[in-house]
Amino acid sequence: MSRYIARRLLFAALLVAVSSSAALVLTRLAPGDFASGLIGTSGGFEAVARERERLGLDRPIAVQYVEWLRGAVRLDLGTSLLYRRPVTELLGQRLANTAILAVAALLLATLAGLPAGVFTGSRQRGVLPGVVRLLSLVFLSLPPLVTSLVLVLLAARTGWFPLGGMQSSSSEIGGALSWLTDLGHHLVLPALALALPLAATLERLQSQAMADAVSQPFTLAALARGVPRSRVVWRHALRASLTPVVSVYGYVIGGLLSGSLIVEVVTAWPGLGRLMYEAIRARDLYLVAGCAAAGSLFLAAGSLASDLALAWTDPRVGRA
C-alpha cells in the first residue's frame, strides 16, 4: 500500500509540474501579453514596451521560465501582474472557496444520488422508481452551464437566494454565526447547479450496480434465511454494490473542477476557476501557471482520496 501511495504522489508531482509549466509557456507564447492588454492600442507602442520592460516581460522565454522554476521549487510562484500580490497568497483563498463549493456539491449529490440509486436499483417495477429514473435522466442531460443559468433565473424570479457572490457586504458585522448562514445562503445556488447533474450520474451508476447485486445468489440466500428485505438491500447488497460508484469519484472530482469553472463564472463565486479565467483573459502568466498548479493539486488530492475510499469498500484493491 505504501509503495502504491508513493507512486501516486510521484504522478501527482509530475502532473503539477508539467501542467503549470505548460500553462506558463503557452501563455507566454500566446499573441499579446499583459502589458499590451493593459495599455491597449491607445497608449502607443512605446508605452507598451516600457511597461513590458518594467514587468520583466521582455526577457527571453527560457530566462523567464528558469527564473519562475527556481522560485517554484521554493514554493514561490511569483507575483500576479493583475492583482499585484503573491500568487500563492491568492491561490490559497481561491482554492479554499472552490473546495467549499466542490465539497458541498459532492455531499449534496451523494446524499441524493446514492439512496435514489439503491431505491431504483432494488425495485425494477413500480411508478415511483420510474419517476425517479426519469428525473435522473433529465438531470443527467443538464450540464452545470445550463443548471446554473436556470437556477439564476429561478433565484431572480423568486428572490429566495442571492444571484451571485459568496458573501453579503453586511455579513461581517453580525459575528461568526451570521457569517456562516450568509455563506450557506450564497452557497445553495452554485452547489445545487453542480450537484444536480452529478446526483443523476451517481443515481444511474448505483442503480445499475444495485440491480446487479440484488440478483446475486448471496442476496437470495439472505432472503431465504429470513433476513428482512430492507436489511438485505441496505446492508448486504449496498456494501457489495458500492465499488463502481466509489471508483468513479476520481473522475467525478475532475468533472467537478471543470464544472465549477463555469458555475463560478455564472454565479460570481470567487473560486479557482474564475481566477483562472480572469488570469487567462488578462494574460497574467504567473497567475495562469499558479492556477494550473493548484487545479492539478486539487485533482491529485481528490483522486488519491477516492483510491483510498476504493480500497476501503473493496479490500482486494489495495493488495494487488
Binding site: T27, V150, V152, A156, R157, L163, V214, R283, C291
Partner: protein, 335 residues
C-alpha cells in the same frame, strides 16, 4: 445486464426515442435555411429582446382561424417594453419564398417566433443556424478524437509491453488534466479574432486533442483482448502481416464501441463549444452558435426579463438528453 428480471423491457423504446430525437435535431440543423423565417444576421432594430410571438389558431374573440400571429410593438424603448397588438392578426404563409413558414406581410414588424436577442435578431433563426455551428464543431471534433484514439489505442493494444505502457500513461495524463482548463489555456494561446471558419477548425482541433484518450483507452481494451482470440492467431499463421491483422481484422471489432463513443463525445463537445463561446473565447457574436448566443443570458437582469434568451441552453439539454436516451441500452464505455 443480469439485474433485469422478466417483464417488458423499456430500453428499446427509450433508445428509439433518443435516436428519433437525434435525427430530428440533425434535420433541423441541416434544413435551417428552409425552417428559419429569417437570415441569422438580419437585425430588426426595434425588436431587441422582443418577446416570443407564438403562432395561434384562436383569436382574441375566441374564433378559430388559420395560423396567425399578433405583431408586437415597442412601447418604451428605454425599458424595452413591448405590447402585443391584438387588433391585427397577421396570417402566416406556408411554403412561400423558399421558407417553410413565414409572415408574408412584415410591414407591421417581423415575426420572431422565439423572440429577439440583444441586437434584435430572430432567436429561432439563430438557434437553428447555431445548431449547425455547434453540432458541426462537435461532429468534426468527435471524428478527430476517434481518429487519434483509434490509431493510438490500436497501436497500444496491439503492441503491448512498453509501447502500451507509455501510451496509456500518456492518455491517463491527458485524462486527469481538467479538460476545461486545458481547453481554455490552449484556446487563449491562439489568436482570438479569426474568420469563423478558422475558429471552427481551431476549436474542433483543440477538442479532439483533449477528447481522444477516452476513445484510445476503450479501443486498446478491445484490441488487446481480440488479438489473443483464435481468429487472430489463425490470420497470423496464414501469413497475414501485423498491419493487415490490425487494420482488417481487429479494428472492425471496435465498430460498435466507436459508434457509442462518437455519440457520447458529441454532447460533451457541444457543451465545450458553448462554454468557450459563453466565456468569450470561442465564436464571436456575429457567428450564431449556441455558446455565443448564451452570452445574452449572462446578465441576470436580462435573464429575468427575457427568459427566452435561454433557448440555446434548451438546445444543449435536448442534444444531451437524446444521447442519454440513445445510449441507455449501450454498454457504456467508462468515462
Amino acid at each position: 445486464m443480469t439485474g433485469r428480471r422478466g417483464g417488458r423491457d423499456a430500453r428499446p423504446t427509450l433508445q428509439r426515442a433518443g435516436a428519433a430525437l437525434l435525427a430530428l435535431i440533425a434535420v433541423a440543423a441541416l434544413a435551417a435555411p428552409v425552417l428559419a423565417p429569417h437570415e441569422p444576421g438580419e437585425v430588426f432594430r426595434d425588436h431587441a429582446f422582443a418577446p416570443p410571438m407564438p403562432p395561434r389558431v384562436v383569436d382574441a374573440e375566441g374564433r378559430w382561424r388559420g395560423p396567425f400571429v399578433y405583431p408586437v410593438r415597442l412601447v418604451n424603448r428605454l425599458e424595452q417594453r413591448y405590447e402585443e397588438d391584438r387588433s391585427r392578426p397577421l396570417p402566416l404563409a406556408f411554403f412561400s419564398r423558399g421558407r417553410l413558414v413565414r409572415l408574408p406581410d412584415e410591414s407591421q414588424g417581423p415575426w420572431l417566433p422565439l423572440g429577439g436577442d440583444g441586437s434584435g435578431r430572430d432567436l429561432l433563426t439563430r438557434l437553428l443556424f447555431g445548431a449547425r455551428t455547434s453540432l458541426g464543431v462537435a461532429a468534426v471534433a468527435a471524428l478527430g478524437a476517434i481518429l487519434i484514439g483509434l490509431v493510438l489505442g490500436g497501436v497500444a493494444g496491439y503492441a503491448g509491453g512498453g509501447v502500451d505502457e507509455t501510451l496509456m500513461r500518456f492518455s491517463e495524463f491527458v485524462l486527469v488534466m481538467t479538460a476545461v482548463f486545458v481547453v481554455l489555456a490552449l484556446r487563449s494561446a491562439l489568436p482570438l479574432l479569426r474568420p469563423p471558419a478558422t475558429v471552427f477548425l481551431l476549436m474542433s482541433a483543440i477538442f479532439a486533442l483533449v477528447g481522444w484518450p477516452w476513445v484510445a483507452r476503450a479501443v486498446r481494451g478491445v484490441i488487446a483482448s481480440e488479438r489473443t482470440r483464435d481468429y487472430s492467431v489463425a490470420a497470423l499463421s496464414l501469413g497475414a502481416t501485423h498491419t493487415r491483422l490490425l487494420v482488417v481484422h481487429l479494428l472492425p471489432a471496435c465498430r460498435r464501441l466507436l459508434a457509442a463513443q462518437a455519440v457520447l463525445l458529441v454532447p460533451a463537445f457541444v457543451l465545450a463549444e458553448a462554454t468557450l463561446s459563453y466565456l468569450g473565447l470561442g465564436f464571436p457574436d456575429t457567428t450564431a452558435s449556441w455558446g455565443s448566443m448564451l452570452q445574452d443570458a449572462s446578465d441576470p437582469n436580462v435573464l429575468l426579463r427575457c427568459p427566452w434568451t435561454l433557448a440555446p441552453a434548451g438546445g444543449i439539454a435536448l442534444v444531451t438528453l437524446a444521447v442519454n436516451l440513445f445510449l441507455e441500452a449501450e454498454p457504456r464505455p467508462p468515462r
